[in-house]
Structure formats: structure tokens, C-alpha cells
Amino acid sequence: MNTHSVNDDETDIDALETLTTSHASSISTINSSITTINNKLSGSSSSGLKTLTTTNLNGINGILNHTTDSNLKAFVDANSAKTGITSVQSNNILNNNDKIGITLSQISAISANTNRYPQFTNLKRLYNQDGDIYNDGKIKFRWNSTYRQLMFYVLDIGASEYLTGGVVKNEGSTRTAVHTYLTQGESTAYKYFTTPQTGASQSIVNSTFNLTTSYSRIEYFLHPYNEFAYPSYRITILIGSSSGYHQISIKKFSD
């Protein structure tokens, strides 16, 4: 229960007035000190803090203005010597600016020519290195280094479609040739250009056409029997030494 009465409050006020009056001097001193501190904090009067702040600001400004030695000034001075290029370099850049970049029409022309037929694939191949040499998604070719013959593998064609082909071998003054139908549908094994191999896995070699003679020029061809939308190929092999690098040139016509 609150037992504080009005008379009690009056007594308190009287006591506070008495206290204020008796400590007026101290309160005035405190007010003066607060004013002095405020002036120092705001920098409007001299103080150690103001002196320190001014000193540091001058130092920082000196560094930023490069009038005072500093790591920053040393770094800038060191790199200032590196900026700028000679007139020769400038001219080279200007000259080369004219050379870089191609126009959209030039890009279109390049794309058109890249996709134009016939397309050529040229490579050098050691006589005894076996393996794939070409793959365009429709056909892949392999150099068979045991028989030294070119082989083909049908990756993509209609099941009822035939491929025809053959080879002409010119060795010295001797010419040997064969042309025939070769395959039907897609392959599951590599095939030769010299014999009908209509079964998917059928592969029949005719050793008459082994390319083991120096100074030879051989031409293979592969062409669909009666299919418009299928590529045709003409492959030329030039042989200097039969035990050397052979030049193989694959010419593709249409898609």
C-alpha cells in the first residue's frame, strides 16, 4: 500500500531546493566542464585530440597529394614510368585495329563456303598404322595396315539402301580395277571396296588390291545405288615408298 503523502512530496522538494542552493557552485563547475568538453569534441577549441586529428589529417592529405613520401607514393612513382606507349606502338595498334574483326556478311560467306561441296579431308598416314581415319556420322573409313587397304563402315543409311563402289589401282604402268555393289543397310563390321558384302557383318578381302607397291596412285569411290539424300565419296591415296607415309585425300560430295 502506498503510504507516501502530499506532505512527504513537499518535504522532498524542499530538501532538493536546499541541496541545489548549497551546491550551486559545484553544479556551475560541472556545466562549465561539460561546455569545455563539448568544445574540444567539436574541435572549436584547442585540445590534444584536435591537435592529433589535425596532425593525422595533414599526414593523410600529404600522402594522397604525394607531397609526403609513402609506400603509396613509391608505388605510384614506380609504375608511372610504365604507363604510356611509344608512338610506334600506338601506330601498330591502330594498324592492327583495322585488321581485326570481320563483318557479318563475311561470317556468312565463310559459313556458306565451309558447308559447300565437295568437302576435302587430307591426311598423311604411315603404311603400318592401323585405325580409323575419318567419321562423318554416315560413313567411317579405316586404314587396314595388315592388308594395306582402305575399308569403310556404314553408320547411317536406310535398311534397304545399297552402296556401290570400287577401286582403281595404278602401280607403275599396271592398272587394276574393280567396281561393284558393296553393301546393303548399316554395317556391324568394316568392309572392303572390292567385293559385294551385303550382310551387315560380312567382310571379304581381295588381296589383289593390297597396296604394297611403291609409286602408286589409288582411287576408291563409294556412292549410293539409288538414293538422293546420301553422300558420295572419292578417296585418293598416293604412295611414294610402300613403307612410308601415304597421302590420303577424301573428297565428299553432298549430304
Binding site: 603400318n128 592401323d130 595388315t146 607397291t213
Partner: protein
């Protein structure tokens, strides 16, 4: 850069052919009667492609590949 693996197929101790595709490192195109005389080695030191290689048999019967340069061209 890692080297491409090379398989070397020998017939009667002389290099018959080589390939960088393992699927062709077999004797499928070699005559049946010659296959017992065939040997396959993978990655022979010093062989990069153009050289010839033969197998040397030591006293213990071990075969060691010897890489040698191709002889100068001769008219056939």
C-alpha cells in the same frame, strides 16, 4: 601432356603393324596359321611411329623390342 597408348603387333619378331586404337590391336586380319607367331606389346620405349621395331630373343628365350631407324629408300 599424356602420351597416346600404342599397341604394336609383331609377326615372326618383326613389327607387322601398330595402332592407337585398342579395338584394332588384334590378329583378326592375320592368317590363322600365322597367329601363333604373333605377339602384341603396348607402348614400346622409343617408338613414336616412323621407326621400325624387331624382337631380340636372349639366351633365356625372353623377347626384347629393339627400335631402329628405317633404312634409306631403295628402288623396288
Amino acid at each position: 601432356m599424356s602420351e597416346v597408348d600404342k599397341w604394336l603387333i609383331f609377326l615372326n619378331d618383326e613389327l607387322l603393324f601398330w595402332t592407337e586404337q585398342e579395338e584394332f590391336a588384334n590378329y583378326n586380319d592375320i592368317k590363322e596359321e600365322d597367329r601363333p607367331n604373333c605377339l602384341t606389346l603396348k607402348n614400346v620405349a622409343g617408338f613414336t611411329g616412323p621407326q621400325l621395331v624387331r624382337l631380340i630373343t636372349d639366351a633365356s628365350g625372353n623377347k626384347t623390342p629393339e627400335v631402329y631407324e628405317r633404312p634409306p629408300p631403295q628402288l623396288d
